[in-house]
């Protein structure tokens, strides 16, 4: 009897100790993550306006914000723009970042210099990037239009023209974020065993076959992680849009976050903004779950 109770007590005590050790982390996570999410969810069912709330408390309006949001054609357009932007940005960033990683990994000399140079765009603050591109693409003194004029090519008002504004935002985002993909995949490439390449070479595999049968299978988890991180980040695109186009021209570059800023945050209608944030979180979770499932499976 005594023999049976001893291990049980030790196990309980170990469990209690484990729970005690993990509880600060759980507490911090609850305060930092769960509370804001629940707070946002709660306010999404109210007509909470920051200033009006000083005089009149927010009222419960059930699904009023969600109905208004989902019946708004401009919100639906913002969702489409965001999904289109995310898909294109992730595809281009993954392709370019992977190509850069393969190139630098194959270099026998100058890897460090190339690595540093290629990383520079990612190290710049987004505001600096946006303003630098705005200057370069300025219709007045921008170097891009000047070069194009010299070459007798047509010039554009890049951020105000419906034909070019979305493409320019995509280009700038790819330019800035492809180095992030490069960095992660370059690190992953370093861990691929050289013996597998040698074996493939002995078996007569060329560069393309080595890429598809050795390189990619070895780094597929890193590829999935990169795609996941870039998807989440691209989906939340805001600063570049807000600084460069404000969602225009004619809503062609309006993303979900820009819409929420224009119609919720700017006017301090945080109830409406919260509903939008919840819808956005659900969409990100749906998109991310595909990657997470694949990475974990």
């Amino acid at each position: 009897m005594r023999k049976n109770r001893l291990p049980h007590t030790a196990e309980s005590s170990a469990r209690r100790f484990g729970a005690g050790m993990i509880s600060p982390t759980i507490l911090v996570l609850l305060v930092m993550t769960a509370y804001p999410l629940l707070f946002t969810l709660f306010y999404s069912f109210t007509d909470y306006n920051l200033l009006r709330n000083l005089q009149k408390p927010a009222s419960f309006i059930a699904l009023g914000n969600y109905t208004k949001l989902l019946s708004d054609a401009y919100f639906r357009q913002a969702i489409l723009n965001t999904v289109k932007f995310t898909l294109l940005a992730v595809i281009f960033e993954m392709l370019i970042g992977f190509a850069m990683a393969l190139l630098v990994n194959s270099l026998t000399r100058g890897q460090k210099v190339m690595r540093t140079l290629l990383l520079l765009p990612y190290l710049l603050p987004t505001v600096t990037v946006a303003l630098s591109w705005r200057m370069m693409l300025s219709p007045n003194y921008g170097i891009v239009n000047q070069v194009m004029e010299t070459l007798n090519l047509p010039v554009f008002n890049w951020f105000s023209d419906m034909r070019t504004a979305f493409g320019m935002l995509l280009l700038i985002d790819v330019w800035q974020s492809a180095p992030f993909v490069f960095l992660l995949l370059y690190a992953a490439l370093q861990s691929v065993p050289q013996t597998q390449y040698e074996a493939a070479r002995i078996d007569g595999a060329g560069a393309v076959k080595s890429l598809f049968y050795v390189t990619i299978p070895n780094i597929k988890n890193s590829l999935a992680l990169c795609a996941l991180l870039r998807t989440i980040d691209s989906f939340r695109l805001f600063d570049k849009v807000n600084l460069l186009t404000g969602g225009g021209p004619a809503n062609t570059t309006s993303t979900i976050t820009q819409y929420l800023y224009n119609y919720g945050i700017k006017s301090l209608d945080f109830g409406f903004g919260s509903a939008g944030a919840i819808v956005m979180t659900v969409l990100v979770l749906i998109l991310s779950s595909l990657y997470i499932k694949r990475a974990m499976g």
Binding site: N53, L54, Q55, N140, N157, G246, P249, A250, N251, S267
Partner: protein, 425 residues
């Protein structure tokens, strides 16, 4: 070794805590001094200076205030910390601080269009109750939105009012002298002439809804239209609005949308011919390539001339939750002083005062202030409604669709009217 590392870590932590405690005590001390407000400020130089925090619109508007501060600081034993923000950040900065019981700011710069929302929600202190009154030197029209039920909440500080900014050479090349620009038809003729000679005509700001709406308002006023009626009902689907929109579309077809800095550069270099601007953007001199005039307010030759100058006046007020209201009002009175305001003119200040704008010396050095004074005497504030932010977002979005050809004028304005009616209840 482990014990040594643990000891060192504990020592570092203890020192850090001690350092934090020291700072906390000192800041608490200064806070106490600060909260004694005006009395401490007036107490003389032996007491620690009281800290006042100002939240201002970045640019010339804040620069002219900053240059006045050292004298006030020395005289009143205060130190002033200035936060300079963009328009949208300024709005949210004031609003976010308003929900605190003890506010951070002691003086704030407020756009006229926020007035209704701020006063309805008790954001601003009642200056009349605090003993401040505007004098008769202030241009009366600029004070229109500063009062609620005869109680003063704001003082008009920087006289921003829409003007027509133009390139002198381009206008001359089109065969016009500035005083011959008497209607919107003249504007169109000049812009078309510039376009034919390979330059851009009318430049407008299309980068956000607010700018789109504000740049259009002088044109709308020239057709006798406005965005709301006396009962605050939206009036954007009217014949006047449609006529103004069609005229605007013709005008902007001669140029293109640009951001503010590009617009100024375009008109200055002559790449563009004209655009709606603000005196705070550009200080013309006798040698400058660009200048500005007030719009006549007439749509065509012989048509009725309406008052078409739209105010973008930056007013100053004291937040209701300021911890140093007395000092805040004292600073406001100092900044509004006629002589102090006149002193800001060489740095680009545009006081809403006759004594500055009609002063012979000022006019000799800055002749454009005559135009500004005329525009300020007959300007229009944007609608004083609490929903103005949502209002211009909805209207600007539909105007953006019209300007880019996504919707027709009729369709866009009908949609705007429907959405605005829903907003205004």
């Amino acid at each position: 070794m482990k014990k040594l590392v643990a000891f060192l870590l504990a020592l570092v932590m203890a020192l850090s805590l001690a350092a934090c405690g020291g700072n906390g005590g000192s800041s608490g001390g200064s806070g106490d001094t600060g909260s004694s407000g005006g009395s401490s400020g007036d107490a003389g130089s032996s007491a620690a200076p009281t800290k006042l925090t100002l939240i201002l619109r970045a640019g010339t508007y804040a620069d002219v205030i900053k240059e006045c501060l050292p004298a006030f600081e020395a005289e009143n034993n205060v130190t002033c910390e200035v936060q300079e923000l963009s328009e949208s950040d300024l709005y949210s900065g004031i609003a976010l601080d308003a929900i605190n019981k003890e506010g951070t700011y002691d003086l704030c710069m407020v756009d006229g269009s926020w007035m209704a929302e701020f006063t309805e929600n008790g954001v601003l202190a009642n200056l009349t109750e605090l003993g401040y009154a505007l004098d008769e030197d202030v241009i009366p029209a600029t004070t229109a939105i500063c009062y609620v039920d005869d109680q003063l909440y704001l003082a008009p500080y920087y006289g921003n009012v829409t003007v027509l900014m133009y390139n002198k050479a381009n206008v001359e090349a089109a065969g016009y002298a500035p005083d011959q620009i008497r209607s919107l038809d003249d504007l169109l003729a000049i812009c078309k002439s510039a376009q034919e000679s390979g330059k851009k005509g009318f430049i407008y700001r299309g980068d956000n809804q607010n700018n789109l709406v504000v740049d259009f308002l002088p044109i709308l006023l020239s057709f006798g239209g406005w965005v709301i009626d006396e009962a605050n009902k939206p009036t954007v689907n009217t014949e006047e609005f449609k006529a103004a929109m069609n005229c605007y579309l013709e005008l902007i077809a001669t140029g293109e949308a640009q951001v503010k800095d590009d617009l100024i550069a375009s008109v200055d270099t002559g790449a563009g011919t004209m655009g709606i601007g603000w005196p705070g953007w550009y200080t013309p001199t006798a040698d400058s390539t660009a200048d500005y005039i007030a719009l006549s307010g007439a749509a065509s030759a012989g048509a009725e001339a309406y008052n078409s100058n739209v105010y973008g006046i930056w007013t100053i007020g004291v937040p209701n939750n300021s911890q140093h209201k007395d000092l805040g009002v004292k600073l406001l009175s100092y900044l509004m002083d006629a002589e102090v305001q006149k002193g800001t003119v060489p740095s680009g200040g545009v006081p809403c005062r006759y004594s500055s704008l009609q002063d012979a010396e000022v006019l000799a050095a800055y002749p454009q202030y005559e135009v500004v004074c005329q525009a300020l005497e007959s300007g229009m504030y944007r609608p004083v409604i609490a929903e103005w932010t949502q209002f211009y977002t909805i209207l600007g979005t539909e105007m953006d669709n019209i300007v880019n050809g996504v919707k027709t004028v009729d369709q866009g304005l009908a949609d705007a009217q429907a959405n605005l009616e829903q907003l205004m209840g």
